[in-house]
């Protein structure tokens, strides 16, 4: 059965098409990434799944349960870590988790709550008021709240935004463990490095549409190649179309293979262009992302399933 199955989801806010016919299928046990620039529709899509926003058309199911018609079962199967750092200032960390567990009708959940507190390194703060916690700790409580009812599908909306490196690493570790334990993970993130390291499959959203959907491996392979970072006064005319980016006198030039390096160097020599600095890097997700966002058609081979 599919963990998440969305068909033709569309939603408008006034004249803005936040989602414009999104199809998405996530298998059970997957670690799935949802990428896109600000305003691409990532949070709206997640909110439709969570029942926080209603779609104008289309259907969304979690483990076969429709998110509106069968919302009780759909929501029991879903844990959501929201993007905003929200909390209830009246309660302590433990009260917050116990309350959230109770909303799902669960009683006697203390052992699992203790385990969550331990894994998120919050045991020492269990009886502290939410107000007194640092931003990073509040973020961890949000993760904990999403897990109290042991949902098989977990959605994390930019869980590491504004989080320091150490906490980001420990959150990654914890989320990986959840995935290994069988939870389906859907992650939205701005950190492409994070998606590349964690996600098995990635969907890229732009202006409310899925513009690329493939395994992380295939997405990288599709744009396989090398990038030369060249600091020079100019680039030979024949190489101009290969420029990916230019910033502060540094040209990012795409090569298809190492062999092309020789051709580039020769062209530079022939035009007597002095090289101030030169470095070589393999394609990473950031470059794939930038190229897809510039030109959606380039990702057509990774068409939605």
């Amino acid at each position: 059965m599919l963990a998440v199955d969305m068909t033709d989801i569309a939603r408008r806010f006034g004249s803005v098409r936040a989602l414009d016919g999104v199809d998405l299928a996530v298998e059970e046990g997957e670690f799935f990434g949802l990428l896109g620039p600000n305003g691409a529709g990532k949070t709206t899509l997640i909110s439709v799944l969570a029942g926080l926003i209603r779609a104008d058309r289309g259907t969304a199911r979690i483990l076969g349960h429709d998110v509106t018609d069968d919302f009780r079962f759909a929501r029991r199967n879903l844990g959501v870590v929201p993007q905003e750092l929200v909390f209830d200032p009246f309660f302590t960390v433990r009260e917050t988790l116990e309350m959230q567990s109770g909303y799902f009708g669960l009683r006697g959940n203390g052992a699992w709550i203790d385990e969550i507190l331990h894994h998120l390194d919050l045991t020492a703060k269990a009886n502290a008021n939410m107000r007194s916690l640092s931003g990073g700790m509040k973020r961890r409580v949000l993760v904990g709240q999403a897990l109290v009812h042991k949902p098989p599908v977990i959605v994390l909306d930019e869980p590491t935004a504004g989080v320091d490196v150490e906490l980001r690493q420990s959150l990654w570790g914890f989320i990986r463990k959840l995935n290994r334990d069988g939870h389906t993970i859907i992650l939205t993130t701005h950190y492409l490095e994070e998606a590349e390291a964690l996600c098995g499959r990635i969907a890229m959203l732009k202006a409310g549409r899925v513009v690329a959907l493939d395994t992380t491996h295939n997405l990288l392979a599709q744009f396989a190649g090398l990038t030369v970072r060249l600091a020079a006064p100019k680039v030979p005319a024949a190489w101009q179309p290969r420029i990916l980016r230019q910033d502060a006198g540094l040209f990012h030039i795409r090569l298809d293979s190492y062999a092309e390096m020789e051709t580039l160097l020769r062209a530079l020599r022939e035009e007597d262009i002095a090289i101030a600095e030169l470095s070589l890097a393999e394609t990473d997700l950031e470059q794939v992302f930038l190229r897809i966002m510039k030109n959606p058609e380039s990702a057509s081979s990774g068409a939605p399933t």
Partner: protein, 259 residues
């Protein structure tokens, strides 16, 4: 860990009660003090000058049930409305919206939470005012008084729910409170018997549902009222059904809650 039917909304009810109890100085003690000040000032100025129910009841005794009911109504409204608006503005309402709780579950939890606060404060006001008027304890129809306190707090809890859902900002909520709830409460006969009003205002008072809540409540204390307790109870029940239907429809449609 076991899943228990009904535990979800009971947890939300518990949270609603815990929320006001944790700040009880502000939510319970303060309104009791306000009611006591009203009693001291109004009874000092008006005792012996105002005749109520043809002189059968002293003004101070007459005032007590009015103040108790006013405390019940205002605090029931304050609980659900402030809880919702705070959760909406701070964004933590999402924790409730992500759960399997249905519209009826949310309705029951918020309204019952509001009723608990209204009744606790009302009981507190009554206990304090008994010191001035111990004879009030010998009320002829305590069940009538209880019935009106229950339905009145349910109505105001529901109105608080509606106001909390409708308001996007604190000033909208306070407009609802200051321009609707307060005038309806003050003009309902908390401080006077409507028989002392000119005919026009008397007739107008009969269109105020709050009048029936307070008049019926007072019947429980004195066995005397401006209108029959049965008429009052029927009117109050109809009003309760109407506001509950409005609130439930709003929750069912997710109006202003689920975009």
């Amino acid at each position: 860990m076991t899943r228990i039917v009904g535990h979800g909304w009971l947890t939300l009810l518990y949270k609603e009660v815990l929320r006001f109890w944790k700040v009880s100085l502000q939510t319970v003690a303060a309104p009791i003090l306000s009611a006591l000040l009203y009693l001291l000032i109004f009874s000092h100025v008006l005792e012996g000058r105002v005749s109520v129910f043809d002189g059968r009841v002293t003004y101070t005794a007459f005032l007590v049930p009015g103040l108790v009911m006013m405390a019940v109504l205002q605090n029931a409204f304050a609980n659900s409305s402030s809880s919702l608006i705070q959760s909406k503005i701070s964004g933590n309402l999402i924790f409730v919206l992500l759960t399997p709780l249905s519209a009826i579950n949310l309705f029951a939890a918020y309204v019952l939470g509001a009723m608990v606060r209204g009744l606790v404060v009302g009981l507190g006001v009554f206990a304090v005012t008994l010191w001035f008027n111990p004879s009030l304890l010998a009320m002829p129809h305590p069940l009538w008084a209880l019935a009106f306190a229950f339905v009145g707090s349910a109505i105001l809890g529901t109105l608080g729910l509606i106001a909390g859902i409708w308001s996007d900002k604190f000033d909208q909520l306070s407009a609802f409170q200051n321009f609707l709830i307060m005038p309806l409460t003050f003009l309902s006969g908390v401080f006077y018997s409507i028989h002392s009003l000119p005919p026009f205002w008397q007739a107008l008072s009969h269109w105020n549902p709050f009048f029936y809540m307070i008049d019926g409540f007072r019947y429980g204390f004195f066995g005397v009222s401006d209108v029959s307790p049965w008429t009052s109870f029927a009117t109050v029940m109809v009003f309760c059904v109407v506001v509950s239907a409005v609130a439930l429809t709003m929750l069912q449609r997710g109006w202003k809650l689920r975009l």
